[in-house]
């Protein structure tokens, strides 16, 4: 069992809009739940990894750093990392897997804390200072009022519409499926109040064609924690460990507008090169859906269908429903259960693999899941298995 990495605990704080609870306390809530679920105690944690590290210029985006977690939770850390310059959000869990495989750490606490709704209510503390100018990558988009990632993702989606005939009725199944699942997720109550219908979806206002309001996730406040443990430390946990059977990430050009398609098309095939499992073994998909088009890129990139066939794959929604052949985003995804920013997909995959999904638990005995993150030119995916 050496040289293997397992997810042994998952935890999540309350998920809400403008939560009064301090983001460090949200992180503590998630950490306590995850550590307890693993059957560990905080003094057994010896590493802390996060994405993207504390975002000092824009605290709402990432208000808590690994330093603070180490200090506040009394962790004696052997390695830590909080970095934006990684393939995508789940890379932090991938790096933790490396650390435990290398024997540097035994039990790593990985977290992603967001305070993007609460932060807007307290802009002086949490929002970026007004700047006279733009620099870095945003200088190539913001001057043309392509301000949001919605505008950038819309251009990939529009290409799919133009080239492959993706329809709004097909695309809408991502948000509709998410809302159905979110209605059964107790932690999604502040985000999804009622099931989304196709009629309501079709009459929603446009944000950036073809993406409408329901195709965009919503700023939320929450923390998600994933505990990654070394294969030779499993005798210290009291839980059903879930193996990180493979991981992949890619960045070709870090420019949303210099790549033709999102990086999922590169990352997907790479994931299968690192495992004996195949796409046919996958029991469920937890795919990044900050924008509804992105899961389509993962379906195609990972080979669940041919490139261009993603719209047909999700048509009508039956295939991706909880009782379908490939249940998708069973927690509601980010569209249904809040912008947890990537970590929610690993959390839900582990929850389902352990049969802890409650009312939203998928049928059968799922053993293999893919959790993915990223959009645009960066992507990272984990293959999670019960074996």
């Amino acid at each position: 069992m050496a040289k293997e990495a397992y997810i042994t605990g998952v935890g999540q704080s309350e998920v809400g809009i403008r939560l009064p609870r301090h983001p460090l306390l949200l992180t503590l809530d998630a950490a306590k739940e995850a550590v307890a679920e693993a059957g560990l105690t905080l003094d057994q944690i010896d590493g802390v990894f996060s994405f993207p590290g504390k975002s000092h210029g824009y605290l709402a985006f990432s208000p808590v750093g690994t330093d603070e977690v180490i200090d506040a939770l009394g962790i004696k850390s052997k390695w830590q990392m909080g970095a934006l310059e990684q393939p995508a959000q789940l890379s932090a869990i991938g790096m933790a897997a490396w650390a435990v495989k290398e024997g540097i750490c035994r039990h790593v606490l990985c977290f992603r804390t967001v305070y993007e709704a609460g932060g807007m209510a307290d802009p002086a503390h949490y929002m970026p200072a007004r700047s006279e100018t733009v620099s870095g990558p945003s200088q190539w988009t913001s001057p043309f009022w392509a301000t949001s990632a919605a505008c950038w993702t819309a251009q990939y989606a529009a290409r799919h519409v133009h080239k492959y005939g993706l329809t709004r009725e097909q695309l809408g199944q991502i948000a509709i499926n998410g809302s159905k699942n979110a209605m059964l997720n107790p932690r999604a109550r502040a985000i999804t109040k009622e099931e989304l219908t196709l009629d309501k979806y079709m009459s929603a206002r446009m944000i950036s064609t073809p993406l409408c309001l329901y195709d965009c996730d919503r700023f939320s406040d929450a923390s998600t924690v994933i505990i990654v443990s070394a294969g030779d430390a499993l005798d210290e946990v009291k839980c059903e460990p879930i193996r990180i059977a493979a991981m992949a990430g890619s960045v070709d050009r870090y420019s949303w507008d210099q790549v033709e398609w999102p990086a999922a098309y590169d990352t997907g095939p790479d994931l299968w090169k690192r495992t004996d499992y195949t796409v046919n073994d996958v029991d469920m998909a937890q795919f990044y859906d900050g924008f509804a088009f992105l899961p389509i890129t993962w379906l195609e990139g990972l080979g669940f269908c041919e490139k261009g066939e993603g719209g047909k794959f999700i048509e009508g929604g039956t295939r991706i429903a909880r009782d379908g052949e490939l249940p998708l985003n069973t927690s509601g995804g980010q569209l249904g259960s809040g912008r947890l920013h990537g970590f929610g997909f690993a959390h839900e995959a582990v929850t389902q693999l352990r049969g802890n999904g409650g009312d939203r638990q998928i049928p059968g005995d799922p053993k293999v899941a893919v959790a993915s993150s990223g959009g645009g030119p960066m992507a990272a995916a984990l293959l999670l298995t019960k074996d």
């Binding site: 100018t133 945003s138 009022w145 819309a154 529009a158 210099q258």
Partner: protein, 134 residues
């Protein structure tokens, strides 16, 4: 009144791009050794890593490679809808610009439309916008 466009912070790498419009030039970094273009602009060629690079005025015409009609006002009083497009520049393989397509109703802008640059100046920055040809 419409808000001013966000203003790029000029530096060694990007100044030829954002100010070239003063002379009617759309400047893209070209390598003097391998002949390839580098965008976003850098102090070296991203294809052969040569430091022998300089801005070159390219044709300023291109084709709409993908586009979205944006309806969300991202700033107070920003007029909507407007077209955000990715333009593939003629004669500049592998370089794409995010831009706005102006001077046409949004419903008349389509994939594959031929476009040409038109500069909009504000506070020393020459924003390369595009309009349909013909």
């Amino acid at each position: 009144m419409a808000p001013p466009r966000p203003k790029p912070k000029l530096d060694q790498e990007n100044t030829p791009f954002w100010t070239g419009g003063a002379e009617g030039k759309l400047n893209i970094i070209k390598c003097g050794d391998c002949g390839e273009y580098t965008h976003p602009p850098r102090v070296l060629c991203r294809h052969c890593q040569s430091e022998n690079v300089a801005p070159e005025a390219v044709a300023g015409t291109g084709v709409i490679d993908t586009m979205t009609v944006n309806h969300q006002p991202w700033a107070k009083d920003l007029p909507v809808p407007y077209v955000i497009a990715r333009v593939a520049l003629d004669g500049v393989p592998g370089v794409y610009l995010t831009t706005n397509i102006v001077n046409s109703p949004v419903e008349e802008v389509k994939f594959g439309d031929a476009v040409r640059v038109t500069f909009e100046e504000n506070d020393g920055i020459f924003y390369p916008l595009f309009e349909k040809v013909g």
